[in-house]
């Protein structure tokens, strides 16, 4: 059932019971049939217009029916309120300006807060799609002395861990892998995880079709595969008969035993999972930290006990294998914390921002209601004098707030849909499960509660005030009563001050994020990512190194021949790579400087190592600062040469002294040293926010590897080269799969996306807040000018100069805006510490941001005040005095 129909059904409650019982079902069905007749995708505008008309008709019908019933003397106890509703509806229609402004303000507040709530609901509040996920922990290797956490764990250590653990059951690892799948004569690469025994049990995940791995799969050699929902749909047309079928993966036959549910994505959104059997190199790779470790608490165990157990086991492993485990410790991180930990703060900050917007919207509506109340005061006073009780008078105001809230809620729900679409389109992949984002019952309940609360907040103050009219004041003295009086004015002034203060807080938050984003983008990357494409292959399935080299060379030539390509190079890694489209091949190794006293074993400096072809620096635009680049002569027969970056040169050598020095790479100190022939500029390895680190570049010909990234510079539109580059690789060898292709800009965007999303959200909300508070200020000052028209007229008549009058009105606005600004800045000073973790190199109390935003707020406030001020000077004294 569509949401519109659901709201329609819910709205039926406003109809008299007998009518609802008789016709309710039918009305819903008819509305649904009309909705269906509109077509399957009517578009947001047509859909909104349709439902607004339907709901308005319901409200009108309800009013008519109550009138009908009471007209015949029916015992309808709420008939007074029904009358109030009718009265209010008519009054609102008569004031379209006020009604529109109020409904739009409420709608914005409700829509914004509900859209963000739906994101929080999806990402944080909804339970994870795994069985008993709150008892699952992710394991990280850590440094026992510094406490520093590594990326993951190594297989052999985890195998021993599993054998010794009691509080933790089902301890397992997953290792990133890729499998080649033959499809349409081409070979494509499937993102895969090899998972050790008990992995899916540890997560508590079950297959959607078939099953996950069991012990027999591991005992019988593991030639089975579990597919992801995406791979099953995209590559096998969601064929249910896939279960039991055999696939040729990497040349081996593997039986498909299961398909995972769509929501399953752990350790990430892979396409396939295969069993991981113990490997011969596991023992020597105990210190590895690139595998994902998971564990489940045994029944009755707690995370504290589990961490204590992990500490004990780590101690045993340190003692058992001191050569690689000397600093070993394990950190257990609850799965939920691991998945949503680093987005929780930003999301809650955005949620708080939206809360501010909502409060400002409510304050605005309350202000509007108060102003409106002032205009109707005589009417109320008269009704009071004629015997209408407090309850009755209050009922009128409450009815009005209720109608406004219902309309605001309807608009808000529509805006929620638009907002949810926007959030999904902005594609913040960093938000886990964001693709499940939808408007569900929980979200609608939230919207309606927010609407109800805002009706109460914005309607309560005015109704309390109006229901106790000051008769003599209201009727006795021109049009001015208690609302026009000082007390009423003060209430509205306070609301405006609060609004300005709230807007200042939000603006400051957005300003800080914006400024830190700017600082981030200004960081020199050290290379030029524009119009560069990266294509990664793993060339390991060849008989001889020569065969592999020939294919790579042929592929390189084919890529170079593509029209629009201006340069091709190969590197074993590229800056900016994550484990996304391009897998990070992060090789770090210790080194010592030849002819210098070596540091003790295990305390050597570390450098990141990349193998490159001579064109690499040129194609990526990495500047050479000293010496030379590699050339074709730097091959297997030539002398061993390396290029280092400035960070390494600076740290270990004096100015201009690095060239000609020789480094021994790796832990074998007797190996032949490498001579430094060039120094290149530093690059940021993991996006703008990362710091350059010491790096060593080796000629690919002197240190061959199968992990290769083609770096392709294009004349224009590098993304358009994606297919031609893949074809070029296949032209060299159709069986060579391409692991991933993307532009360097897209690689970097991964690092920026999260910040960009936060900046965008907070900026949007702070601008809404600023706009709302400007409207509030404008409304108050206009009202005040209108109220004092007589006084202004007299001043004019007595020769008051235009400048003085403008100054007087502007002064009034400036006092309010100034008070709001001071309070807002003070609050922002205190609150900005909560976004410290979202800032980059900017202090939460950055003075520039505070001063600049203060100025912006004052300018906006002046503009909002200027319009009524100009009206004040145009007052015709004669007209003004006549109206008095």
């Amino acid at each position: 059932m569509s949401v519109g129909v659901r709201i329609h059904r819910w709205l039926l409650r406003i109809l008299p019971r007998s009518f609802r019982d008789e016709y309710g079902e039918e009305m819903c069905r008819v509305a649904e049939e009309q909705w269906i007749a509109l077509g399957s995708r009517p578009g947001i505008l047509r859909a909104s217009a349709f439902w607004l008309r339907q709901w308005f008709a319901l409200i009108r019908a309800s009013a008519g029916l109550y009138k009908h019933e009471t007209g015949r003397g029916g015992g309808w106890t709420m008939n007074g309120f029904a009358q109030d509703l009718r009265h209010a509806a008519r009054a609102l229609v008569r004031r379209p300006g006020f009604t529109t402004l109020t409904v739009v303000t409420l709608g914005l507040g409700i829509g914004a807060s509900t859209a963000i709530f739906s994101a929080v609901n999806t990402v944080i509040l909804r339970p994870l799609p795994y069985g008993g996920a709150d008892r699952v922990a992710v394991l990280f290797r850590a440094d026992v002395t510094t406490g520093e956490r590594h990326e993951g764990v190594g297989a052999a250590n985890i195998r021993d861990f599993r054998e010794r653990a009691a509080v933790l059951a089902d301890v397992a690892v997953a290792e990133p892998w890729s499998l080649d799948l033959q499809a349409d004569g081409r070979v494509v690469s499937l993102r895969t995880w090899t998972v050790s025994r008990g992995f899916f049990d540890a997560i508590g995940a079950e297959a959607m079709l078939g099953r996950v791995f069991d012990d027999t799969d591991y005992d019988e050699g593991g030639s089975v595969v579990v597919l992801s929902h995406r791979a099953w749909t995209n590559r096998f047309s969601a064929d249910p008969a896939m279960i039991g079928r055999s696939l040729a993966l990497d040349g081996d036959a593997r039986t498909v035993v299961g398909v995972m549910p769509r929501a399953y994505r752990f350790p990430d959104a892979a396409e396939a999972w295969i069993p991981r059997l113990a490997q011969p190199w596991d023992e020597s790779a105990r210190a590895a930290d690139f595998m994902t470790g998971v564990a489940r608490l045994a029944p009755g165990g707690t995370f504290e006990q589990a961490q204590a157990e992990a500490d004990r086991i780590a101690q045993g492993l340190r003692e058992g294998h001191p050569e690689v485990n000397a600093d070993l410790a394990y950190h257990l991180v609850p799965l939920r914390e691991h998945l949503i930990g680093n987005v929780r703060t930003p999301l809650f900050v955005i949620m708080a921002a939206v809360g501010f917007v909502l409060l400002i919207a409510c304050a605005n509506v309350a202000g509007l209601m108060l102003a409106r109340g002032a205009q109707r005061e005589r009417d109320f006073a008269l009704r009071g004098a004629l015997g209408a009780g407090t309850g009755r008078l209050m009922g009128t105001v409450v009815a009005e707030s209720l109608l406004l809230a219902v309309a605001g809620c309807a608009l808000g729900v529509m805006l929620t849909y638009a907002g949810v679409m926007a959030i999904r389109a902005l594609g913040p992949d960093h938000l886990p499960r964001i693709d499940e984002l939808s408007v569900d019952g929980m979200v609608l309940v939230f919207a309606v509660s927010v609407a109800a609360l805002s009706a109460v907040f914005s309607g309560l103050a005015p109704s309390l005030r109006l229901s106790r009219p000051d008769l003599r004041g209201a009727l006795g003295d021109g049009a001015r009563g208690s609302f026009g009086s000082r007390a009423g004015g003060r209430a509205r002034s306070r609301l405006v001050v609060a609004q300005v203060a709230g807007a200042v807080v939000l603006l400051t938050g957005a300003g800080l994020l914006l400024r830190s984003f700017g600082v981030l983008l200004d960081k020199e990357l050290g290379f030029d990512p524009d119009e560069v494409l990266a294509a990664q292959i793993f060339a390991y399935d060849y008989e001889t190194p020569e065969e592999a080299a020939a294919v790579v060379e042929q592929a390189t030539d084919a890529i170079r021949a593509i029209p629009g390509v201006t340069g091709v190079a190969i590197g074993s890694d590229v800056p900016g790579a994550t484990d996304g489209v391009i897998a990070k091949i992060d090789v770090t190794l210790p080194f010592v400087i030849d002819d210098r006293a070596p540091p003790p074993l295990g305390q050597e400096p570390i450098a990141a190592l990349t193998r490159v072809t001579p064109e690499y620096f040129d194609v990526l635009g990495i500047g050479l600062t000293e010496g030379r680049e590699f050339d074709r002569g730097d091959n297997a027969q030539g002398a061993r040469v390396i290029i280092v970056n400035e960070a390494l040169a600076r740290r270990h050598f004096g100015e201009g002294e690095a060239l000609g020095e020789r480094l021994v790479l790796g832990s074998d100190r007797s190996s032949t040293p490498w001579e430094i022939v060039g120094i290149v500029a530093d690059t940021r390895p993991l996006g703008h926010a990362s710091e350059p680190r010491p790096e060593v570049f080796l000629p690919l010909d002197q240190s061959p590897t199968g992990s290769l990234v083609f770096v392709v510079r294009a004349e224009s539109d590098a993304a358009a080269l994606t297919l031609p580059v893949m074809e070029a690789v296949w032209s060299a060898n159709p069986a060579q799969s391409v692991y991933g292709v993307t532009t360097m800009e897209a690689l970097l965007e991964v690092w920026l996306k999260e910040r960009r999303f936060n900046v965008l959200m907070l900026t949007a909300f702070s601008l809404i807040a600023l706009l709302l508070s400007a409207v509030g200020l404008y409304g108050l000052i206009s009202f005040s000018v209108e109220r004092r028209i007589g006084e202004l007229g007299i001043r004019r008549a007595l020769g008051g100069r235009s400048g003085d009058l403008v100054g007087m009105v502007l002064g009034e606005g400036a006092r309010l805006a100034g008070a709001g600004l001071v309070i807002g800045l003070a609050a922002a000073w205190y609150l900005s510490r909560f976004i410290r973790s979202m800032l980059f190199e900017i202090q939460p109390t950055d003075p520039l941001t505070f001063v600049a935003l203060g100025a912006v707020v004052l300018v906006i406030a002046s503009i909002a005040t200027l319009v009524p001020a100009i009206r004040a000077v145009r007052v015709d004294p004669v007209e003004a005095l006549r109206s008095e």
Binding site: F19, E25, C28, V30, Q54, F56, A57, L58
Partner: protein
């Protein structure tokens, strides 16, 4: 009730709102269910009048209370949950009375040359 008495009683219900008029007109042809009435009115008015569910059923309730329409048996083969409504004799009389009233008004307009004589153009 004889016909003249029926027409006299019908006068008490005039004038009709345009929604009620169109609903009665729609039911004068054949009994219809709620969505059928909406579609019929929409076609008859070339899409100028689209009734919402709320408007329609408020009208249906009033017309039933006042005896202008009544519930009819759902034809065989139709979804039994669909309720059909048809015109009563009294409803037909009210529809006729209103139509005559409108016709008289149109005649008056012609007499005043606000409208052209039948088939002609305005003066």
């Amino acid at each position: 009730m004889d016909r003249s008495a029926l027409l006299r009683a019908a006068q008490g219900h005039l004038p009709l709102t345009h929604v009620v008029y169109h609903v009665l007109l729609s039911l004068s042809g054949a009994p219809r269910h709620g969505y059928g009435i909406i579609k019929d009115v929409e076609e008859r008015t070339h899409g100028r009048l689209e009734l919402e569910a709320g408007t329609l059923y408020a009208a249906i309730k009033r017309l039933r209370d006042e005896g202008l329409i009544e519930e009819r048996e759902t034809p065989g083969g139709e979804d039994a949950r669909r309720r059909y409504y048809g015109l009563t004799d009294f409803g037909l009389a009210v529809l006729q009375a209103e139509s005559m009233r409108l016709e008289e008004l149109v005649e008056l307009a012609r007499g005043a040359r606000i409208l052209p004589a039948e088939g002609g153009r305005p003066a």
